[in-house]
Amino acid sequence: MSDNIPFEIQSEIIKRLPVKSLIQFRTVSKPWKSLIDSSPFINKYSSQHTHTQRLLITYDDPVDSATTYVSIADDDTFPQQKVSYSFPLLTTNNLKYSSIIGTSHGLVCLYGSDPIDKEIAVVCNLSIRKAVGVVMPDLPSGITFGIVVGFGVCRETMDPKIVKITYISSWDDMESISSIPSQVEVFTLSSGAWRGPCSSNLPRKSIRFNLDSVVIDGVLYWLAADGVNTRSGYNYYMLIISFDLTSEEFGEIHLPDSLARVDDYNLSISKVRNSLVVLRRFLDDSGFSVWMMPDGVPQSFIRMFTIKSPDLLIKGFRKNGEPIIEMVQHHPGQRDGSFFVAYDPCSKDIVNLEIDVFARSFCVFPYMETLLLLDQPDFVIYDQGKATLQSVEPSDEGKNY
């Protein structure tokens, strides 16, 4: 109808479309398909920050215990614009006891056991219903060693990576163990294989890791504990260990004394935009305080605010810094229920997220829609460096996918 629109201009429009439209509009014409499927386009699209930042909320449905995935646009419309994701492949048939271990650039990494009890990480793009399974390499048995697994997308190459770190669980064993086998191994999707041990080792073998990690701008962060062996026994302190996904090197961040000495509180780690956040929760459940390391000012933590209340859990943060809080309600004779709200400490506004009050295992992650994994074949599992296509098993409900 109109004059011929040069493809240059068509591509200006294509790159601003949302993910679902892109999937549909691959069928518009061959040039459209070539562009959308091309790696440069996929990578550029997925690193664009003009796409709306969202929050991914996951929780277990109180009725059927299925995990529900909902994302909410984290902008002026919060929390009205909700998008539900349905991903039949992730039913409990295929992945048992799974939990999300990290999100990066809109990809979600789950970790659990496959139907034959091998430990497996599954990297998912919820918006295009693509997932890639990665079987873990040999894991240590027994209790001498512990492992942590981290996930992130390398900011330079947009290559998803999984990092597995082995550490010594018990300080009693520290002296007797001279080196840790397979200390650090890294899986990169581009190579489809685990690589390790890496050239970079842990700063010290005495470091013990907490399970949860956050990834900020291509660097993974874990809370960790270290100890100095003094004459009067071990002197424990908490610190943060970082792993740069691009250079694959470790770093350390020291915490202020009020956070490092763990006498009567638990620490957990989170982030607000590109700043690292440490949450300090008092063991007697009397409240939380939130500390932030401002982006660009390394090693200096500022206490942002304190909440003095039991039955409150900070689950995550909006991009403007407002915490998302779970407020537990006790119902005598019934299960506990919860409100989920976002709170603005400055204006004291509270926004109810309108999630089912009997939802369990509520988690919040920063999220965005992405095209990453579009170029992966369906149902791929990487096992010992070989990609095998998992046979499509119908789920119990008989859904087709």
Partner: protein, 197 residues
Amino acid sequence: MDPMDINNLLTKEGDKTSSSHRVTSSLMLPNWRDDFLTKTVYHTMAEVNETDQAPTVDPKTPNLDDSTTSSQPKPEQITTINVAIPIPDMGPQLQVVVEEFILKSGSDDDEVRTAARNDLRDFIEREEIGITTLLVVVKYAHEVKNAYLLDAFCERVVDLIKDKKVVEVREILGIVNDFTPEEEQALRDEHPWAFED
């Protein structure tokens, strides 16, 4: 516990780091139009053809490096209406708005540029500009390399087509379907969930 109780429970310590908002003192906006007109030189067509050639563009390799964020045009970049590329017919009202926007986007004053952008966005939202006209502006913005103008009008086109069917998108953009029916169905089968209505 009433959610409102939380107000009593929070103590805020220190300053919350927020995204830095520049504090601008209120300025008297210079009389930009008069200033501008005295600085503007309209080139004759002959001078323009020699010195002001738009770089050729290869249609096969879309310039993926074009700034996706609306970067401000540098003040020295656009201070003249580019007579080599005459503004196409887009209806008198829109033409005035686009011309004003281009003039103001060349201003040195940050507040003038910001106000111009807001005005443009407001105008686009208020008026229901048809897709044909939007595409005329998009083409023009692309040719004169005004990133913000391109972004604002492309976003509007995207809003209008993102929920449309594939056949409608082809018609609107004048695109010929070069897939066979079998090829097209095979592609749809790759992501059946996206085509469920």
